[in-house]
């Protein structure tokens, strides 16, 4: 294997040592001298790097490890265009890794991240963790005894938090909304949490996201947001195209994100055919994702009756994308409408999966204490960071104040909510900065 290393710093030198068939490009004269001394003239090329260096057809892998992240990405793109099969990019800033992955370059590494991992690993044998594992209402563990969970020798369930008190774990039968208190050694806490929580299939707010792609811009907005959401919640993506020429790019994006996807081309995606296009016989469309493009405003897609028809025909949620992902902050308003608590729970499910912070406005005059308890239960159950207040004045205005503050990434609303008029919902969709998830008669209710 012939490896070309761009940048002969410490990392480059280490790689040169381990691979005798590797060649390095270096621009700095002083370092060039050292490299030549260490590896001989024929393994060192004088830089700076230029595209011609990729002309050598024998190169199988290129490792780009200069000190400049932008430069590294630029070289990686050039290598990708030349069709070099193996490309590894070093970046100092770990936040740039997703960007590189979106370009189709899988191996992007940050040496600091590796170092931190190694340091953590060296500390692990001495660590002891006390963690709280929630039992969700549809957990397969409900009805089992604690002993049946069987965590092994390095973890033990010491107690169960139930209805606000701690019970001894021995002999207890697991109930929904229990929180298992687990002590573990050797850094097993995350793994344990996964083994218990990951089995919650219905923790997914929806199984599938049907993404409507009408024009090129939808790739960057709707598809990108749908893929983000699907990847995290473990849903599939059904891509419905109006323009077949967009399919290859969309497929590339879906492949890179690692999400299971299906492609459907429906020719012209007329606005009136949206619900029909989303539905395939015998297949639950899940959540319909579309963008809030000005084109829709012109064609009045988000008019009350059109949205109503879509929600009625699809019987599922509609996600209006604004490219606000990742969703750090989610807003929801809970009121007296019977569908309101399940929609709030959906917001908590999303918050749980996406690690988002929740802002919940409570507006209730029938049973305000009950509603407060409900939100507290959800906070406890899903362990999501949540700021919640009871609305004193007008719920619509408080809702608008939150929306227009610009701090929100996703707003989860109940279509039937009496607190939000459909005109205001229309403005929230068209003019509000956050993405909007609209629900009507939510199913799969998991209330504790």
């Amino acid at each position: 294997m012939r490896m070309l290393i761009v940048g002969g710093g410490r990392l480059g030198q280490e790689l040169m040592k381990s691979n005798p068939r590797s060649v390095v490009i270096e621009a700095k004269p002083r370092r060039l001298e050292i490299l030549r001394e260490m590896f001989g003239d024929d393994r060192v090329i004088e830089g700076p790097w230029e595209e011609a260096h990729f002309d050598d057809g024998r190169i199988e892998t290129v490792v780009i490890a200069t000190h400049d992240d932008d430069r590294n990405i630029e070289i990686a793109v050039a290598a990708k265009e030349r069709g070099i099969p193996g490309i590894v990019v070093k970046v100092k800033d770990p936040a740039r890794i997703p960007e590189i992955k979106e370009l189709g370059i899988e191996d992007a590494i940050c040496p600091h991240q590796f170092a931190a991992k190694a340091i953590r690993a060296s500390l692990v044998p001495r660590s002891k963790d006390l963690i709280e594992i929630p039992i969700f209402p549809d957990s397969p563990h409900i009805g089992k005894s604690i002993e049946e969970l069987g965590f092994g020798l390095d973890a033990i369930i010491v107690g169960v938090v139930r209805n606000g008190s701690i019970l001894r774990a021995e002999g207890l039968v697991i109930e929904k909304a229990d929180h298992l208190l687990v002590v573990s050694i050797g850094g097993r806490s995350k793994e344990l949490q996964k083994t218990v929580v990951r089995k919650e299939s219905r923790l997914k707010p929806f199984e599938r996201i049907t993404t409507l792609i009408i024009e090129e811009n939808d790739l960057n907005v709707t598809l990108s947001e749908s893929l983000y959401l699907a990847r995290i919640i473990g849903a599939e993506v059904d891509m419905v195209f109006a323009d077949p020429s967009l399919v290859p790019r969309a497929e590339d994006m879906a492949t890179i994100s690692g999400v299971t996807y299906a492609v459907r081309v429906v020719g012209s995606l007329d606005i009136d055919e949206l619900p029909a296009a989303a539905i395939v016989e015998g297949r639950d469309p899940g959540c319909i994702a579309l963008s809030a493009s000005p084109r829709y405003r012109e064609r009045r897609v988000f008019r009350r009756w059109r949205l109503y028809r879509m929600l009625k025909e699809i019987q599922g949620p509609i996600l209006i994308c604004k490219r606000r992902h990742p969703y750090y902050n989610i807003l929801n308003i809970i009121d007296d409408h019977p569908d309101s608590p399940p929609v709030t729970e959906l917001a908590f499910k999303l918050g749980f999966q996406l690690r988002s912070k929740l802002r919940v406005l409570r507006y209730c005059y029938l049973d305000p204490r009950g509603q407060e308890r409900l939100v507290d239960n959800l906070v406890r159950l899903y362990g999501v960071s949540c700021r919640t207040d009871a609305v004193e004045g007008n719920p619509t205005i408080e809702f608008i104040s939150e929306i227009t503050s610009g701090d929100l990434d996703l707003t989860v609303v109940n279509w039937e909510s009496p607190s939000i008029t459909h005109d205001i919902l229309g403005r929230t969709i068209m003019e509000g900065p956050s993405s909007v998830l609209i629900m009507r008669s939510p199913r799969n209710v998991l209330m504790p």
Partner: protein, 411 residues
């Protein structure tokens, strides 16, 4: 003659004590206020009969307050409209409400005509029919809330039917009143002016709604003050008053009471439509209305009640006749459009019988238009009072008797 301030004192004393006296009964406070006013009026009537001396004179300030009270009453009736409920009931239920209302009119009209012919009375039959078709939305809301029905689909249906009957009756009354004004006027331009004012009010309603939506979106911080309990300037109340009196001022251009009523009603409806669930603002406005102005209106009606015009045989025969007609016209449509549970339909029809506020508003409009003479006016007031006492009590009785709460599929 009694001083104006003493009259006001009598009114506020009655307004204070009547709800306390009625708290153990199921009679609406409004009825108590009218009856209390009637008792005061009756005492003065007896004194007049015995001594020939009149203690009551003209009280323009009290009349003005009563008129503002009437405007406030209509405004608060509009504010009670729950648009979310109407929307969420779907078109079928809305259409059913409209059909029930139309059937009520169709049943009531021939019966009222027949009664009028039999008694040889001089009632304006079409007008009385519209007044009979009204529903006491406030009574329906109170009963539904008290009996915890507001969460059941049936409770929602009751409210929506009452709202539709109220709004439709209000519009018909206004159209009728404009019709009478137009035909009775010699001015060639008057019809044009009347129709323009009617349209102007509807346009203003839409403008207020649009403007309000726009302001809510772009200035939520400012509008937030409208709904705060600690706003020293009570901006919400001031804004509401501004909207009410804009509507009222537009409608007063042609000096039509019906249009004023519609204007005040639409002002309430516009605010209810814009600011859903504004409990705090609603409470403040209720405080002004039901705390002072509205009792003044109802008690004044009672005090001014002309016993001499009503206490005669013909009128006293008409009263039970109208009670029966109203009941038949309200109950039969529900039975005809049966939902599969006749007992439920009968119970619903009973609650819908009688329109306290709007019936009185109708009587006021009729008197103002000149289509109702003093005895017909008094008769309608009595009818409103009698129905408001009977119907909620009968509804509660039937609801328990038929065990509707326990019957599956009925609620």
């Amino acid at each position: 003659m009694i001083n104006e301030y003493f009259i006001l004192l009598i009114i506020v004393i009655l307004a204070f004590f009547m709800p306390l006296l009625l708290q153990r009964t199921n009679i609406p406070a409004v009825v108590g206020e009218i009856v209390a006013g009637m008792m005061v009026g009756f005492i003065f009537f007896i004194i007049y009969q015995l001594t020939g001396e009149t203690f009551l004179g003209e009280y323009p300030s009290v009349d003005f307050l009563a008129h503002i009270g009437f405007i406030f009453l209509m405004f608060l009736s509009g504010l009670e409209l729950d648009f979310v409920r109407i929307e969420s009931q779907g078109r079928k239920k809305q259409l059913r409400g409209v059909i029930v209302f139309v059937m009520t009119l169709l049943i009531a009209f021939p019966l009222v005509t027949l009664l009028n012919n039999l008694t040889g009375g001089g009632m304006e039959t079409l007008f009385v029919t519209i007044v009979l078709a009204t529903t006491a939305l406030a009574v329906v809301l109170t009963v539904v809330r008290e009996m915890a029905l507001n969460r059941s689909p049936w409770g929602q249906e009751l409210i929506v039917n009452a709202v539709i009957a109220d709004v439709a009756a209000m519009i018909l009354l206004t159209i009728y009143a404009i019709g009478v004004d137009v035909t009775g006027s010699d001015d060639i331009l008057f019809p044009l002016l009347a129709v323009s004012m009617f349209i102007a009010i509807l346009v203003f309603f839409i403008v207020i709604y649009r403007l309000g939506n726009w302001a809510m979106w772009y200035f939520p911080g400012t509008l937030r003050r409208f709904f705060r309990s600690d706003d020293p300037h009570e901006l919400g109340v001031r804004a509401s008053l501004m909207i009410i009196f804009t509507f009222v001022a537009i409608s007063s251009v042609i000096d039509s009471k019906a249009l004023t009523v519609l204007g005040a009603f639409l002002a309430g409806a516009a605010i209810s439509m814009l600011f859903r669930d504004s409990l705090l603002l609603g409470q403040k406005l209720n405080g002004i209305g039901y705390g002072f102005l509205i009792p003044v209106f109802f008690i004044t009606i009672g005090i001014n009640f002309q016993f001499a015009d009503v206490l005669n045989m013909a009128t006293l025969i008409l009263l039970p006749g109208l009670v029966i007609i109203t009941a038949v016209a309200k109950i039969v449509p529900f039975l005809l459009l049966s939902s599969g549970c006749a007992r439920r339909d009968l119970t619903q029809g009973v609650l819908m019988t009688g329109g306290l506020t709007l019936m009185i508003a109708g009587a006021e409009i009729g008197k103002d238009l000149g289509v109702l003479d003093a005895s017909s006016y008094g008769l309608l007031i009595l009818l409103a009072v009698v129905l408001a006492v009977i119907t909620p009590t009968l509804f509660r009785y039937l609801f328990t008797r038929f065990r509707l709460a326990e019957q599956e599929g009925c609620l």
